[in-house]
C-alpha cells in the first residue's frame, strides 16, 4: 500500500504545478483575489483527500478543474443566496435562446475595439458576465477544454454546454461593447 508520505509527494508532483492555472480561473470565477485564494485552498484540500480516486496517467488538470468548479459552485451559491443575491438559474431561464439572437454578431469594429481596451477592462467585462455563462466561457476559451470535458466538469449535457457558450460569448461581447461605451470608444 502506498505510504502517506509517498502519496503526498506524488500529489505535490502532479497537482501543484497546476496551481497558477487554477488560480487564474479561480480569480475569474470569484472576481477577487482573497476569495480566489480561499477557493483554491479548499480545492487542493479536497483534491488531496480524494487523490485516491485520481487515476494516474489521466488528465490531472481536468480532474483538478472539476473539483475547483464544484467547490466554486458551492462558494458562489452561498454568495448568491445572501440577501440581494440572484440565483443564476433564474437568470438563465429568462435569457433568450440562440434563435432570439440577443446580441448582434461581432463586426470588424468589435475587433478594433477589443484592441483598444486595457487588460483590466477586458477582465472586468468578463467578470460582468453571469456566473453560469462565465464558467463555460473560461473553460472553453481560456483553458481550451473540450465540450465533453466541460460537460463532465459541470455535470450538464453537451447541448447545454453549447448553448451556454453561445450565450456566454454574446454576453461577453455586449459587456465589452458596454465597457467601450463607458470609455467613449463607442457611440450608439
Amino acid at each position: 500500500m502506498e505510504q502517506e508520505e509517498e502519496r503526498r509527494q506524488r500529489f505535490e508532483r502532479e497537482a501543484l504545478p497546476h496551481l497558477n492555472a487554477l488560480f487564474g480561473t479561480a480569480l475569474r470565477l470569484t472576481r477577487n483575489r482573497s476569495d480566489a485564494e480561499d477557493l483554491l485552498q479548499e480545492t487542493y484540500l479536497r483534491a488531496f483527500r480524494f487523490f485516491d480516486r485520481y487515476q494516474p496517467g489521466t488528465h490531472c488538470k481536468a480532474w483538478l478543474y472539476r473539483i475547483l468548479i464544484n467547490a466554486g459552485m458551492n462558494f458562489l451559491g452561498k454568495k448568491s443566496r445572501q440577501p440581494g443575491g440572484v440565483q443564476f438559474e433564474d437568470v438563465e431561464a429568462v435569457l433568450p435562446g440562440p434563435e432570439a439572437t440577443p446580441v448582434q454578431a461581432p463586426t470588424r469594429g468589435d475587433i478594433a475595439l477589443l484592441a483598444d481596451l486595457l487588460d483590466d477592462e477586458v477582465q472586468a467585462a468578463l467578470a460582468a458576465v453571469p456566473e453560469t455563462f462565465r464558467i463555460v466561457v473560461i473553460l472553453a476559451l481560456v483553458e481550451e477544454f473540450s465540450y465533453k470535458e466541460i460537460a463532465g466538469m459541470l455535470d450538464i449535457p453537451i447541448g447545454t454546454v453549447m448553448s451556454r457558450l453561445y450565450r456566454g460569448r454574446r454576453l461577453l461581447q455586449e459587456s465589452l461593447r458596454e465597457t467601450a461605451r463607458e470609455r467613449g470608444l463607442l457611440r450608439d
Partner: protein
C-alpha cells in the same frame, strides 16, 4: 439543408471544432456558395482569436498561497486505514512498537516538566469559563495558550490530535491555543511563514481530516476574521454553534451560541468563514 439564418447557432461550435460532423459538412457546403456567410464567419473567427488572446492573462498565485496550500496538505490527514487495521503482522510493527516505547519514555517526563510551569494565560482562561454565552453577548478572551511543540499530541483524550509540523511547508509554529467548552475543544494553532504572514490552523478534535489551514487577514481594525463553526454535540443531542474571532493582536476569542435545535446528524465539524463587515 443549411440556411444563412442557421449560422449564428452553429458558429460557436464550429470555431471550437466541436460541431457535429454532419452539420459541419452542411456548413462547409453552404459556405462555398455564400459570400455573406463566409465573411461573417471570418469576422467571427478573427474576433474569437483576438478575444482568446486578450482573456489569457497569466495569473501567478502569490507565494503565500503556495505556502498555505502546501501547509494545508501537510496538515491534512487523508482518510487512511488505521494502523491497527493493517495488521500487526507488518514487518514495521516491531519498529513502531520500539518507537512508541521510546516516545513514551521521552514525552512523559517532558509533559510533566511542562505541567509544572505556571501558565497565567491558562489560569485566566479557566477562570473565565465561557460556557453557553448568549448570542450577541460580550465575548471574553476565553482561550488558554498551550505549551506544545510540533509533533506533540494535544492533551485531549477525545482528540489524540498531533500538532502538525509544517516546517517543510515553510511555516513555523508560534502559538497553540485551545478554547474549552463542555463537549468540544477547538485547537487553534498559529504559524508564521518567513515573510511574517500569519496562518491559523483550526484543528478539529473529532475529524482531523476536516481541519483547515486558514490565512489570517491583515486588515485595519481590531477583529481580523471570524469563523462560525457548527458543532454537533451528541451528548446534548443538539447542534450548537461556536464563534471564533481572530483579533489583530493575535488573541482568539470564542463564544458558544447554541443550542439551535435538535439534530440527528453525526458529529460534524465545519469551518465557515464570514468576512467581518
Amino acid at each position: 439543408m443549411f440556411e444563412c439564418g442557421d449560422l449564428d447557432a452553429v458558429a460557436s461550435a464550429h470555431l471550437d471544432g466541436e460541431l457535429d460532423p454532419a452539420r459541419e459538412s452542411e456548413l462547409v457546403f453552404h459556405l462555398t456558395g455564400c459570400a455573406i456567410c463566409r465573411e461573417r464567419l471570418e469576422v467571427e473567427r478573427a474576433y474569437d482569436a483576438a478575444l482568446r488572446l486578450r482573456l489569457r492573462r497569466t495569473e501567478v498565485a502569490p507565494a503565500s498561497l503556495h505556502a498555505a496550500v502546501r501547509g494545508a496538505i501537510v496538515a491534512a490527514r487523508p482518510p487512511s486505514v488505521a494502523w491497527y487495521a493493517r495488521g500487526l503482522a507488518s514487518s514495521w510493527a516491531p519498529r513502531f512498537a520500539m518507537a512508541a516505547v521510546l516516545a513514551v519514555l521521552l514525552i512523559v517526563p517532558a509533559v510533566r516538566l511542562l505541567q509544572r510551569i505556571p501558565d497565567v494565560a491558562q489560569a485566566a482562561g479557566d477562570r473565565h469559563g465561557c460556557h453557553h454565552l448568549t448570542a450577541g453577548g460580550v465575548v471574553p478572551p476565553c482561550c488558554k495558550e498551550l505549551s506544545v511543540l510540533a509533533g506533540m499530541s494535544l492533551d485531549d483524550p477525545s482528540a489524540g490530535v498531533v500538532v502538525p509540523d509544517l516546517t517543510s511547508a515553510g511555516l513555523r509554529l508560534v502559538r497553540a491555543t485551545r478554547c474549552n467548552f463542555h463537549q468540544a475543544d477547538a485547537n487553534l494553532l498559529a504559524y508564521h511563514d518567513v515573510a511574517g504572514n500569519s496562518f491559523s490552523l483550526v484543528l478539529s478534535p473529532y475529524e482531523p481530516a476536516s481541519s483547515r489551514l486558514i490565512r489570517w487577514r491583515r486588515e485595519d481594525g481590531v477583529p481580523v476574521a471570524r469563523y462560525v463553526v457548527p458543532v454537533d454535540v451528541p451528548a446534548h443531542g443538539v447542534r450548537e454553534r461556536l464563534d471564533v474571532t481572530l483579533w489583530r493582536s493575535g488573541k482568539i476569542a470564542c463564544a458558544w451560541t447554541g443550542p439551535e435545535g435538535n439534530t440527528a446528524h453525526p458529529i460534524a465539524w465545519r469551518v465557515l468563514r464570514q468576512s467581518l463587515r
